[in-house]
Symmetry: C2
Subunit: 107 residues, 2 copies
DNA sequence: TTTTATTATCGTAATATTGCAATATATAAA
DNA sequence: TTTATATATTGCAATATTACGATAATAAAA
């Protein structure tokens, strides 16, 4: 019925799937890569850089923010986005744990 | 317009997004975890184990196979699924490379 | 206060995904 | 050959995602 049956899976499985889902879009990958190259603030050079409309970028930023992969700091009329390194590493650890555990049990 | 603009991104970005997309579903996570616990063959105990209809499981297996994360070996009327360990490690490396590179450049 | 610039939100169209019933296919068993 | 079992495919309904134009909200500048 078009809706994922999250009820029948455990929290870790749903959390993992959610992380993967947020990353499952090339625009969001590109945004993360671009943000990470900026020494200081970037604000919406992202729009120029990526080549998608401003509302589209804004929505992607919102999704990345939803799991705290990035943070936005308001500076006047601009917003300074940056990778949330703490969460970034945390997510990397969660994914590695999944990959390691799964391959460990493997036939 | 509901369609991801893959043309404006590079191959690596699209490849990464595709990997994440295949993993972005709790049923597929659960299937991978379950398959990895089986010493030998499992066939469609998966259906009983996961709690989704047989066609649904079959479709998820197809998507996992589409990027070679799992392999299916036909044994009589059953099919024996297993993690493709080579590809599994390859994917883990690709993801770690993404996480490491991105955090390396970070402000 | 008005204007300008930057970002967010709303509404909507196009497309994709999820899940399942019905059915097809394939192979083993009777 | 017929029957039973296991898996795959098809078609469809419900929902989610992607993208963008229009517009709102916010804050600096004039």
């Amino acid at each position: 019925m078009g809706i994922t049956k999250t009820q029948i899976f455990n929290d870790k499985q749903n959390q993992l799937a959610l992380i993967f889902k947020v990353l499952a879009n090339p625009a969001r990958i590109a945004i993360l890569q671009y943000i990470s190259t900026q020494k200081a603030c970037i604000c919406n050079d992202i729009v120029d850089e990526i080549g998608l409309a401003q509302p589209t970028i804004s929505q992607h930023l919102k999704e990345l923010k939803s799991i705290d992969l990035i943070e936005g700091e308001i500076e006047g009329k601009k917003v300074c986005y940056g990778i949330n390194l703490k969460k970034w590493k945390e997510v990397q650890d969660i994914l590695n744990s999944f990959f390691d555990k799964t391959k460990f049990n493997c036939c």
